[in-house]
């Protein structure tokens, strides 16, 4: 039984590798070029407004994937056309544009937007019109109540329970595991959601929460918060931060001559934190980094190179593929697998296929048969080491020679 179970994935992986090699290695002339009326896939991204800086990452990733898919067989032999609209970072605009895509433009399929509020707005429209919607950036899975909505990022159905334990497992592996923790979080829904889970799971595992603080999203002055963190002087600092908040907090702590013993940052700006001296040994959540073993997954090296080239050309400050770009790549991989698997552009058929099958993505093999259509939780931990992000936990995802560094 054990042999048969282990043999099956091996065969599948081998078959997949052979297939991928054949597809990618064969001369273009031998591949079936998609033809006929394009399959139109509609979606919005926040190309203007306050989410624009992140949405452009998704746009680049989507363009790479559309070219990649059209370089193969398109969807069912037809070329894929991405009908991308700008939702201006406003959920009400996102809602109206998905209605436009479905009822006016009459696209064949849709892709999800970026960020929780636009996703929820789009999800309502998808539900009313029975469309499959795949999204990669909704950090609160329980809000995904529509049965034809699928996550492209492996948060798992209850990340507020699972991910804190990944972090606490990593901390427990240190020579001197933390006994006390300070939890700070932005009052941003998905960050706050994770912080509350962290507080609960820390308590269950006997790590004493000596300070729990929430600050307003967009806060820039961390002086008073830093003073309280220093006063608490816990073994571990967990920060539910967004963007540059982590840099600002660590800078405020430095001004107080205080360096946290160990610190974790939920959704920081990866480039600035890695490059800042304050970010030394900082920990962060991730699903993928451009290193082994991730680069060995089929297509990832090529996608990472393409992303770097285009992101550099677009003058993005951090032109390295990470979980944001990977999320959009995963969305398209899932849609492609759904269409091919169902051999149909019918949403119900695609949804049915996805619920019953796994899909190989940039994040590894994902499944959608759990609560809220989620599969396994695959959140990882990366750490700034030598000015670069390195995946350190779980250890099986760490590159050779890379280890978690504690205080």
């Amino acid at each position: 039984m054990i042999d048969r179970m282990s043999a099956w994935p091996r065969r599948r992986v081998l078959a997949g590798m052979v297939g991928a090699t054949a597809a990618l290695g064969a001369p273009a002339i031998l591949r079936a070029a998609p033809s006929g009326k394009p399959v139109r896939v509609g979606g919005t991204l926040s190309l203007t407004g306050f989410l624009a800086q992140t949405a452009v990452i998704h746009k680049i990733a989507a363009e790479i994937m559309v070219e990649e898919i059209n370089g193969r067989n398109g969807f069912l032999g037809r070329p894929v056309e991405y009908v991308l609209l700008d939702d201006q970072s406003k959920p009400e605009v996102a809602r109206s544009l998905y209605e436009k895509l479905i009822t006016v433009d009459k696209v064949d399929l849709i892709q999800g937007p970026y960020a929780t509020a636009p996703i929820l707005a789009a999800m309502g429209v998808a539900q009313r019109y029975g469309k499959v919607i795949i999204q990669s950036s909704m950090g609160i899975p329980k809000m995904q109540t529509y049965d034809m909505a699928f996550p492209a990022t492996p948060f798992g159905p209850e990340p507020q329970k699972t991910y804190p334990n990944v972090i606490l497992d990593a901390m427990a592996s240190l020579p001197t595991p933390p006994k006390t923790i300070v939890i700070l979080t932005s009052k941003f829904p998905s960050a706050q959601f994770m912080a509350q889970g962290m507080r609960e799971e820390s308590g269950k595992r006997g790590v004493n929460v000596v300070l729990y603080l929430e600050y307003e999203s967009g806060n820039r002055d961390f002086g008073a918060i830093a003073a309280r963190v220093k006063e608490a002087n816990a073994d571990f600092l967990w920060v539910g931060s967004l963007g540059l908040e982590s840099n600002q907090l660590l800078e405020a702590l430095r001004k107080l001559d205080y360096t946290p013993k160990n610190s974790f940052h939920l959704y920081p700006a990866p480039g600035p934190l890695a490059l800042s001296p304050d970010g030394k040994n900082a920990l962060c959540s991730t699903f993928l980094e451009p290193a082994e073993p991730f680069m060995s997954r089929p297509g990832v090296a090529r996608q990472a190179a393409a992303y770097k080239e285009r992101a550099t050309k677009a003058n993005l400050p951090y032109a390295i593929i990470d979980a944001q770009a990977a999320g959009m790549i995963s969305e398209w991989q899932i849609l492609e697998a759904g269409v091919n698997g169902a051999k149909s552009l019918e949403d119900k058929a695609i949804a049915a296929f996805l619920k019953k099958n796994t899909v190989d993505t940039i994040y590894g093999t994902l499944r959608f048969d759990g609560l809220y259509n989620h599969g396994n939780a695959e959140q990882l931990i990366k750490q700034v080491q030598g000015g670069e992000w390195k995946v350190v936990w779980p250890t099986k995802y760490a590159a050779p020679g890379v280890k978690l560094i504690g205080s």
Binding site: T48, L85, S96, E99, K100, T103, A117, G124, K187, E216
Partner: protein
Amino acid sequence: MTNANGLPKLAAVLGIAVFAILPTAGLPAFYESFFYLVFFWVSLSTSWALLSGFAGYFSLGHAAFFGVGMYTTATLTTKFEVPFLATIPAAAALAALLGIGIGAVVFRVRRLRGELFALLTLAVTFVIATIILNTPIDGGAGVFMISVPMPAIMSSQTGTIYVLGFAMCVLTLAIAWWVAHSRLGMGLFAIHDDEDVAEAKGVPTFRYKIVAFALSAGIAGAVGGIHAMYVGFLTVGGTFELTVPLYVVLMSVLGGSRHWFGPAVGATVITALLYAFISGGEAMIGRALVGAILIIAILWLPDGVVPAVQKWLRRQRVAGAGASATAMPAELVPVELAPTKPVGQRNILEARTVTKRFGGLQALDGVDLDVREGEILGLVGPNGSGKTTLINVISGHFPLTSGTIAVDGVQIGHLPAHEIAGRGVARTYQIPRPFANMTVLDNVTLAATFGGPARPAAEMRDEAVHWIGFTGLAGKEAALPAELNLHERKFLELARALAARPKLLLLDEVLSGLNPAEIDNAIRLVRAIRAQGATIVFVEHLMRAVVELSDRVAVLNEGKLFALGAPRDVMRDPRVISIYLGKAYAA
């Protein structure tokens, strides 16, 4: 003429009918959503204009009232299971109460106007957002409304939202139209141009601003309540973001924030422009282009699209009517003198130990003064003697420090200026202060409406026309004050004061700045006014006019009543000559 007037009404009825039946036309849902968003912005920007456009209290805090409405509906529906529709009045009421509460404090402080009011309303937004963020109302997690049932007004959810947005929009525009064409609107427009003068002309400025604030905030709250259901997931950051008031301001200014329909035009244009550039490939260029269009439009049409169109149409009409319709300059001899009535023995004004201090400065120091019915009392004195201050305390512009003032036997010393105006006291200003954005006719009609006895609107307009003619401004009815010369603006001041049918008319240096011919004309005019039965107190430096016009002269010096008596006696008084010209002349 009747047909031309009926055309807009017919267009409005047809427009309402077409939009009302649109959801039954089987159009794709996107159009319902798009029009809903147009209605949303029309309602929001029009509600902003009710206070900020009409009354000139520029607010950057509209997101606060809109947000209170959104969270009222979200809280009542998700936590207390109140049916969605029942939450809309609650959303409106709560937002209106917030507006009234803020107004009740802020509108009492004279210095909180202009940019200070804008900043204060912005601060209120942050305070409200902080409260909602840090309480169970939101707490940071957001409010997800997916489980709230939508009433089945129409067969589809988008159809129902459309109908609600449309109804709100029609209601908002109806309110805006009514306000703009009512006594309230006239008062608000006057407040916009010069609040102190509006108060002195009888406009109950505090009450009107509170009403406008309540209407503005209440509509924004109701709009927010409906929009909560449209958005479905509320976050504090998304609800109270600065783009809401900025869009609202931009839309109102573009369309014309002083016109009831201006914000609707601006909102429609901007929403349509934003949807014209939604393609992913042109998003940034599109936004830049929209910005450029708006900048150009605002630079070229500073008053907004609707007033600009109205102005153009007016010019076209005038051109069509030919040169005969061109207004002629004001006649210099406007009136024929009626026989002067004798001065009565009854006192119209009784001032007793009137004192006014500004910090350490004693502007008036125990002034006792009676003015008799039908009398012209000249009020003279050197600069800084307290003449204008006395006019200001009698008219209520400054509150009394101590003492009493009675008009026709009624104590008015501690009444607000608009109530004093209502009791028959009218005044003019040394430097004319007409309502700059109102025509000559509207300026005078406002004074008749708020200062004089209650009459039908048409009668007040007729009265305004009469006084405009009386002061020699016939033919200038449609002109704006900026189109008048100084002489005409001074006479406009007089026309406004006369239109209130005052018992007591306070004229503050009405002759200053006029040439000799204009002075002679003005003197005749003042006599004519007195001949109508008015009692006049006039502050003047021109001694010839004082002697010619006054029955008695009161001299103020250093805030005290220095001399009082017949003009020639007072002017010969060595003490008076001394304070005017120095002791050498007095000797």
